[in-house]
Amino acid sequence: MDIYSSLVVIHILGTILGVGGATFIEIFLTKSLRDGKVDATEGGFLKITFIIVRIGLVLSLFSGIGFLLLYKFSDQAFRIYNPVLWAKLSIIAVIIINALLLQAHKISLYWGSSLSLVSWYFAFIIGALSQGPFIFYSYTDIIIPYILSMIVGAFVLERIRIFFKKTTQ
């Protein structure tokens, strides 16, 4: 297996762990918060899932930087200046900063969970389609739908939480 294929495998693995982990954090949170509090068992599951997401982030970051270095060394520097790549990097930066804000309790669950989930799915979609139609998109073509999805996502996730809370009572 050559370097490029290895990087693709690691990057996909990282994305699977990140997207899957972020999805399961939402599922566990919705299930846990039905009674208004997170007990020890539920907290344990959440903790493990957070670790999985962080492993996914590390794998994605390392392989992502690996791709950039590979482009640089193989005289494909033009790929580094692609706005789609910059949009993806901005979304990854949001994931990283959001995790810090959540840990410091400086962001509400309403925005924090949406930022995490929507960002991971957007990064995954951009990555999956970046060799296809997305290659010609501008930075704002991606960031504006991303911000809108985040606002809608926050509202939808909150409604889901309220719905499951009501059905439990």
């Binding site: 520097a77 580094i80 810090l100 840990q103």
Partner: protein
């Protein structure tokens, strides 16, 4: 050329590794339940070592520029900006090593008091955030300039 590629790759990945340890360090510091000296040391020591080794590798791979050799990027418009950027990056590497060292030594000496003194925790957090920010900038500068 291959030797240079390997050196640059190791240099960038070491900085990225340092960034990961610093990020983990900050996450632990932000934990509301508190933390202990051992967990902080387990992250600050590798971060400092990674930055230090990366700095020395940086010196080795940056040296060809001062000998007048060509960079990896062959685009003339990009090459025109290289000397200035290389100079800035090299300047940024020195305070980064000092910052990482200061964070590590501070944890080493006063790490067991981190939960008692809020101001100490806040200053440690600020320092590590600055270190992480500079590390991230250096990773990206390392990709955009040879």
């Amino acid at each position: 050329m291959t030797k240079l590629i390997i050196l640059v790759t190791i240099h960038i990945f070491l900085l990225l590794t340092a960034g990961m340890f610093l990020y983990s360090f900050i996450l632990i510091l932000l934990n509301k339940k508190g933390t202990n000296k051992k967990s902080l040391l387990r992250r600050s020591v590798p971060a400092f070592l990674a930055i230090l080794i990366s700095y020395f590798i940086g010196i080795i791979y940056l040296s060809p520029y001062y000998l007048g050799k060509e960079g990896f990027i062959t685009d003339a418009s990009i090459n025109a900006n290289i000397p200035q950027l290389v100079f800035i990056r090299e300047l940024l590497l020195i305070p980064l090593v000092i910052l990482a060292f200061f964070v590590m030594i501070s944890v080493w000496k006063y790490g067991n008091k981190v939960n008692e003194y809020v101001k100490y925790k806040a200053s440690l957090l600020t320092l590590s955030l600055i270190t992480l920010f500079v590390t991230t900038i250096l990773v990206f500068l390392g990709i955009f300039i040879p």
